[in-house]
């Protein structure tokens, strides 16, 4: 292990390697425990081989206010199957036995962590092998809650920036950000509208004036072609709702996973990865 997990941890190492390869990364989002803990583990374990460079693991919450219908439904399926913060960390721990290198970023809302207790959560997350956190409802104005304790615990706090984050506000948003910056390419919820390539181009250029950190772009990327377009511009493309929807398509009316579903989702991830990898050829 390195001395400084923030500047030389899995996230930094992975982006360094991507840069050396001269390509952008694929960040895939799946919800922990969707549709059941076993399937979620199988899916998670299969993501790196399918071409995911970084993994965002959604921590399910009853009230995902920034998420569209696909991830809302996914969270509720996971909760119905008994998913908790503790079990989410178990998924990460199991994954780490197979993969020591792929960064895992937990993405979710603050209350489940608040209920767990910030310090106990950070200790458990670090021990399980979590590299970063994206907490949607913690803007820089609330940095003392979790961001600063996370940085002290050696866990990156990846900030969301949006089309509404103006230049005046940008320094405050960047101040305690680490790992990478996640650019939310539309003003809206996950899995709905998509931004144009030109708009993303302008936005990434603007972000690069404010930070040396890698920039990942997400919200609204649904196809390998769209992922490739983003990969030509940004350091990574994030795909969430489209993967989660693909999984939902493999469930029967009772929410039980059908045969071949995990393989089908991983196949889709392979297509996305191929798009991202060929983008700058």
């Amino acid at each position: 292990m390195s001395a400084d997990p923030l500047s030389d941890g899995r996230i930094a190492r992975r982006f360094k390697a991507l840069k050396a390869e001269g390509r952008a990364g694929l960040v895939t989002f799946v919800t922990a425990g969707d549709p059941d803990p076993g399937t979620a583990q199988a899916l998670l374990n299969g993501l790196p081989a399918a071409g995911a460079d970084l993994i965002e693991l959604g921590v399910p919450f009853t009230d995902p206010m920034a998420d569209g219908p696909a991830i809302q439904a996914s969270s509720l399926r996971a909760l119905k199957a008994g998913m908790t913060v503790r079990k989410t960390l178990d998924l990460v721990r199991n994954f780490r036995r197979l993969d020591a290198d792929t960064p895992i970023i937990l993405m979710g809302y603050y209350n489940p962590i608040h209920a767990y207790g910030v310090e106990p959560f950070l200790a458990a997350a670090r021990e399980a092998g979590v590299d970063g956190l994206i907490i949607v409802d913690l803007p820089p104005e609330e940095d003392e809650e979790l961001c600063i304790p996370a940085l002290k615990a050696g866990i990156s706090f990846v900030r969301l920036t949006t089309p509404t984050t103006d230049d005046a506000r940008m320094p405050a948003v960047m101040r305690n950000t680490s790992g990478f910056v996640y650019y939310v390419s539309i003003a809206g919820i996950t899995g709905t509208a998509s931004a144009s390539g030109t708009a993303i181009d302008t936005a990434v250029a603007r972000l690069k004036r404010h930070t040396d950190l890698p920039v990942a772009v997400g919200f609204g990327i649904k196809t390998p072609e769209q992922a490739a377009e983003v990969a030509r511009i940004a350091d990574a493309a994030v795909v969430g709702s489209a993967i989660v929807s693909r999984l939902a398509g493999g469930l029967d009316a009772a929410g039980t996973v059908g045969p071949g579903t995990v393989e089908d989702v991983l196949g889709f991830v392979r297509e996305l990865a191929a798009g991202v990898r060929a983008a700058r050829d």
């Binding site: 009230d63 209350n111 489940p112 409802d137 803007p139 969301l160 509404t164 003003a187 809206g188």
Partner: protein
């Protein structure tokens, strides 16, 4: 217990009441939240804003409404002298309009052209649709499917007023889910849309702003009681869901130590039955973060929000305004609770003894008055905030009484 010089100085510049409140929202909304805060600060300092609001509250809402001596109820209970603050006589039939007038004037001042709101019982939805009709602004109201089913008259009212009512089918399909959906709309339409939050909760500056707009209730009670009795009231009682009528009544009196204050939460089928059977965030919940603020919430061990239950759609919310959480912790306000049955009994008693059909929400406050008044001396002045009228509730009350309409 903490003794403070003043209980009226909150929130601080970051929106905190003690450890409660704050701004727990997505980054997309944060610049807008800061803009609302700045615009509100400027509006408060502008006599023209205050003047227009006062004018509308007088001419359009019908304020001041009476502080009414409930003589028959007082005789029947045989103790404290009971007054009703008649918010149910406002235009639209509840206290909600006070806040809507203030917020739509702010929205106009900010150049916003579209209004959204959430509603539970439909009172806030009706009040919002009303001010949108008055100021000719398009209006979308989010309402849980469950609430739409139990509040049909208000749904129709909103439509008559020109609002679009969008049914929310996520979660338990009640107020909490309507608020989630309104926040999703806001994050998507951040450039032109103003979100009129209906209660003294949400991200800063909403809790303090809504309280300020509702404080007209307590301010009027203060001067009316002075006129009627020549002194301050001894106790104030109000129902608490998010708690906007309660904070509006209480806030002007927080620094008067002789005035006792009681907020009444909805105990549903009984607090002892657990958090799926009531909506009492303070009496049966613990602090957490939801909808932009830290406050008492109904939640499970894992921090997942629980649906709660109350016969009253307006109290059926798993949280409470952050200032109430703080006032509870510092001990300035007492938070009691009343069950569905106690509210139903109070509802009927009020109709028969005073000729006033109260909202089921307000009937929770009245249930507490019924419990306390008999043991108090006859010179004890007790004020109940009769926050809304009960016409909207007659169908659900009839159902509970086994009456076919």
């Amino acid at each position: 217990m903490t003794k403070l010089n003043t209980y009226r100085s909150g929130p601080d510049e970051r929106g905190h009441f003690g450890i409660y409140g704050g701004r727990f929202v997505a980054e997309t909304l944060m610049p807008l939240i800061l803009e609302v805060e700045k615009a509100y600060r400027e509006a408060r300092a502008d006599p023209a804003f205050e003047g227009e609001m006062r004018q509308q509250l007088k001419q359009y809402v019908g304020r001041p409404n009476p502080l009414y001596y409930a003589e028959r109820l007082t005789e029947q209970l045989g103790g404290a002298k009971i007054y009703f603050k008649r918010e149910e006589l406002n235009h639209t039939g509840a206290h909600k309009i006070n806040n809507c007038i203030g917020q739509i004037l702010l929205a106009r001042r900010m150049g916003k052209t579209r209004i959204i709101a959430e509603t539970g019982a439909g009172q806030h939805g009706v009040a919002t649709a009303t001010v949108c009709a008055l100021y000719n602004m398009p209006c979308v109201i989010y309402m849980g499917e469950t609430d739409i089913a139990r509040q049909q008259p208000n749904v129709f009212r909103m439509k008559l007023l020109g609002a679009e009512v969008r049914a929310v089918t996520s979660g338990g399909r009640t107020l909490k889910d309507a608020m989630n959906e309104a926040l999703r709309d806001w994050v998507t339409n951040v450039a032109d849309t103003f979100y009129i939050i209906g209660t003294a909760a949400g991200p800063h500056p909403y809790p303090g702003m809504v309280r300020d707009f509702q404080s007209v209730i307590g301010d009027e009670v203060r001067s009316q009681m002075q006129e009627l009795e020549g002194r301050l009231p001894d106790s104030l009682v109000a129902c608490v869901g998010g708690g906007s009528n309660a904070i509006g009544l209480f806030h002007p009196f927080l620094d008067d130590p002789s005035v006792r204050m009681i907020g009444v939460e909805a105990a549903g089928r009984g607090i002892e039955k657990g958090p799926l059977d009531h909506a009492a965030s303070i009496n049966g919940g613990r602090p957490g973060v939801l909808h932009g603020n830290r406050t008492y919430l109904l939640q499970d061990e894992d921090g997942q929000i629980l649906e709660g239950h109350s016969i009253s759609a307006g109290l059926d919310y798993p949280g409470i305004g952050p200032e109430h959480s703080w006032l509870h912790d510092v001990g300035r306000v007492e938070y009691a609770h009343a069950t569905d049955q106690e509210a139903l009994d109070a509802f009927q008693l009020c109709a028969r003894t005073e000729g006033i059909i109260p909202a089921l929400e307000s009937a929770h406050g009245l249930a507490e008055v019924i419990k306390r008044a008999p043991a108090l001396p006859r010179d004890h002045l007790m004020v109940l905030c009769l926050s809304g009228r009960g016409d909207k509730d007659i169908f659900s009350v009839a159902k509970h009484l086994g009456v076919e309409l």
